[in-house]
Amino acid sequence: MSEAILRCENVVKRFRRQTVLDGTDLDVQPGEVTVLLGPNGVGKSTLLRCAMGLVRPDGGSIRIAGIDPARNPGHAREKIGYVPDVPDVSAWMTLRDVYRICAAWYPSWDAAEASRLADVLAIPDRTPIATQSRGQGMKAMLAAALAIRPPLLLLDEPFAGLDPIAREDVLRGIIGELRDADRAVLCTTHDLDVASRIADRVAIMADGRIARHGTFEDVIERAPESARDVSRLRDAYVDAVDPQEVLS
């Protein structure tokens, strides 16, 4: 197995008295799509934001290609393309503005790739992102994240809150860019259908820990025998996560 681009060891994060991450271990290998599944509020986003160096873990260690994002967020973030669950750019920013800012901050910025992505994903570059549809906004975020040619792509619930057509649009955008050399992708979602479409590996998070982690096949193997991928993944998911939590 090659060197993990993202390595989380025993990560602990508490907010007030609530422990969100409670000894989370997760490795993401180059060239793989890892889908991080878990109920809402289980800490998937927190883990990603820890990896971005936006949240300081209370314990454990996170390394982005050997860099501790809590100590050196600048260098860690240069290696990460991050797509937030909601476009977080200022209201006035167009794709061009976002590109301009990213170009100044990311040494690996690829202007040609950026304009190709804008074309392929059909994002208008002079309309403020905030005034566009949610799906367009997510694609713009995706384009900005991909054009830095990051070795690690973090997708934080990229499909949450999208209508079916927008979701498919964004999904196609993501899938189209997955096969880029050794890029590792970590995508949090609770959408099992999406997970079974794109996951090379699946990690299921429950109670602040990674309850299941392995290749897609490994994870569904361990689920009770069932014919379909999604239902087998669902079974694995339900098996890993407390059913009460899923229902709530």
């Binding site: 934001r49 971005m52 160096g53 936006l54 949240v55 300081r56 809590a70 967020p73 600048g74 260098h75 973030r77 240069e78 991050y82 937030p84 977080d88 750019v89 200022s90 006035w92 920013m93 503005d97 976002v98 301009r100 800012i101 990213c102 100044a104 901050w105 990311y106």
Partner: protein
């Protein structure tokens, strides 16, 4: 574009709408305001700086509160590589660029409006008659830094301005305290610059630290404050320390400090303790006046130790009374008793009574009258006891030769020069006729011309034995000194040790009534070309014995004679800060304090 440019561009874009709004708003405010400014002031210079100030205030109040908090949420800018230093300095740069521009724009709008609108249309009020100090604009400008700093701690931008004001008030408290108690800050450039630097640099440093360091990680709204507030406290410690130091230094001056002056003091009966008042003449209150509050201290000349007395600062002690803490106050007064009665007894004023030595301690020389008080008569050259009371017309002088109180008759052109056994010697100022000497007998109310004085004589003072010291030249030139007997006109030359009967410019008793050596010799000042020298008058030998160890032009005003440990020595303050011991009849001078 580089990152600095991009950051600045981003700040411009973030605030563009607001800034453009201000472009419209400021002239509108000006238009509204000008109808409340009297034309006569606006027509000159008043309006433009006022509008500049208003423009700065509006800009600071609208742009700064949200400036930093905007980037601290889940924002795109925050998750970029690199620290938040870039955005911080871009924001700072924006404020530093936009605020002066706002001032100029406001002033320009005011000028433009003034040119466009006829003065008749303006409605007068009094506001513009106030002079606008430049520092007010600067204060608002710097206030913007504080608001920017505070806005890193608060997500709610509405309270950023009141919060900054409250914080500033809190931090200004020690400064205010220092200024209030030591009201001379305005005259201390170094202190002003230091306080100014603190007021400017503290919000910049604290804001930068809060934003860059405190905003590193996502957290609660007050996470940046957790980083910034300790730094602010750290930065404020010098200010608090400075304030405390200032107040302490003000309240507890060090007599060894070259800036501190010693004013008014005396030597204690023990001969080694001196009591002096300390004053810091460098200090001025905001009106430019020197403070009158002096701090009484006691110095031990043998050890050099000193301590404040009567609680130091705030003491209302008049120093001679401080003796009460060391020895009998009346004893002290008697020791320096200014008058000698014909029988040699001493007389002094104490507690509104004229007293003298009795067989069993001090007794009243004149029976006390509860409706009267005793004071020292100051008109002319004579310092004699006077009793006043029962209305301002009641003013009596004590005639020691006749042992009675005699009503004083004020005459504008007549100066009482001496009370003598033969009568009261007056200097009659002639306006048409030449000035002349007259002798008035208070018992018979007759006036004669004293035959023993010529018009060229200048009477200096009366001696204890009823004679007068005279200089034989009325002009401000050199003259010889004589002791003249008022009864028979005998003139005795008054010599000076080692100088014989040499002429001098002048001779005068000390202004203070207490200057006598322990055995009762008067201390006088000899005025000469080289300056003024303190001398002891030996009446028996008809000799002035000068203490040549110290001579200075204004002796008698700046230095202060503290006292005489014995008949041959005097201890005095020279240059208002050194205590020296001089020996009469020699050039010996011993420096005693500061050590």
């Amino acid at each position: 574009m580089n990152r600095v440019g991009i950051n600045l561009w981003r700040e411009w874009r973030e605030n563009r709408r607001l800034l453009v709004t201000l472009l419209v708003l400021i002239p509108l405010v000006g238009l509204g305001a000008m109808f409340y400014f009297p034309a006569k002031h606006v027509g000159k210079s008043g309006f433009a700086p006022w509008m500049g100030l208003v423009a700065i205030a509006i800009t600071v109040m609208t742009t700064t509160p949200a400036l930093t908090s905007r980037d601290l949420g889940r924002s795109f800018a925050r998750r970029l590589p690199g620290t938040l230093a870039g955005p911080w300095f871009a924001k700072l740069l924006l404020v530093t660029i936009v605020t002066p521009l706002a001032f100029l724009y406001g002033a320009a709008c005011a000028e433009g409006l003034r040119l466009c609108i006829p003065e008749k249309a303006w409605r007068p009020t009094t506001l513009a008659s106030y002079e606008l100090p430049l520092w007010l604009s600067l204060a608002v400008f710097v206030g913007g830094f504080w608001v920017q700093c505070v806005s890193t701690w608060l997500r709610a931008q509405l309270i950023a301005i009141p919060a900054a004001a409250a914080l500033l008030a809190l931090l200004a408290l020690p400064v205010w305290w220092a200024v209030e108690i030591t009201p001379d800050l305005a005259y201390h450039l170094v202190d002003l610059v230091a306080v100014g630097a603190y007021l400017v640099l503290a919000p910049l440093l604290v804001g930068a630290w809060s934003f860059i360091r405190g905003g590193r990680f996502e957290g609660r709204a007050w996470t940046p404050a957790l980083a910034g507030v300790p730094l602010l406290i750290l930065l404020s410690l010098p200010v608090w320390g400075w304030s405390t130091h200032r107040v302490l230094a003000w309240r507890h001056p060090d007599p060894r400090d070259p800036g501190i002056r010693m004013v008014a003091g005396y030597l204690d009966a023990d001969g080694e303790t001196v009591w002096v008042h300390l004053l810091n003449p460098q200090t001025r209150d905001l009106m430019g006046r020197q403070p009158k509050q002096a701090i009484p201290i006691r110095i031990n000349l043998t050890t050099g130790a000193y301590e404040e007395v009567d609680g130091g600062y705030g003491s209302r002690l008049s120093l001679p009374k401080t003796i009460g803490t060391s020895t009998d106050t009346e004893l002290f007064t008697r020791q320096f008793a200014p008058w000698r009665l014909p029988d040699g007894r001493r007389a002094w004023i104490w507690n509104d009574a004229l007293r003298t030595d009795g067989p069993e301690g001090p007794v009243d020389l004149v029976a006390q009258d509860p409706e009267c008080m005793w004071t020292v008569h100051f008109r002319g050259l004579t310092r004699v006891p006077a009793r006043v009371g029962r209305g301002i017309e009641h003013y009596e002088l004590y005639d020691r030769y006749r042992d009675r109180l005699i009503p004083y008759r004020y005459e504008r052109d007549s100066l009482l020069m001496a009370i003598l056994p033969t009568g009261w010697l007056h200097w009659q100022l002639g306006f048409w006729a030449p000035s002349r000497w007259t002798l008035w007998d208070p018992l018979t109310d007759t006036t004669v011309t004293p035959p023993w004085l010529t018009d060229a004589d200048r009477v200096l003072f009366a001696t204890d034995d009823g004679r007068v010291v005279v200089r034989d030249s009325i002009q401000e030139t050199l003259g010889r000194l004589w002791i003249v007997d008022a009864t028979d006109g005998t003139r005795t030359p008054l010599g000076i040790t080692n100088r014989g009967h040499a002429p001098v410019r002048g001779l005068s008793p000390w202004s203070s009534p207490r200057l006598r050596t322990p055995s009762g010799h008067l201390a006088v000042r000899i005025h000469d070309e080289g300056g003024t020298t303190l001398a002891r008058l030996d009446l028996e030998r008809a000799l002035l014995v000068p203490a040549n160890g110290h001579t200075e032009p204004n002796l008698g005003f700046d230095p202060e004679v503290l006292g005489f440990p014995d008949d041959d020595h005097v201890i005095m303050v020279t240059n208002q800060r050194s205590i020296v011991r001089l020996r009469f009849g020699s050039s010996e001078a011993t420096h005693l304090f500061p050590r």
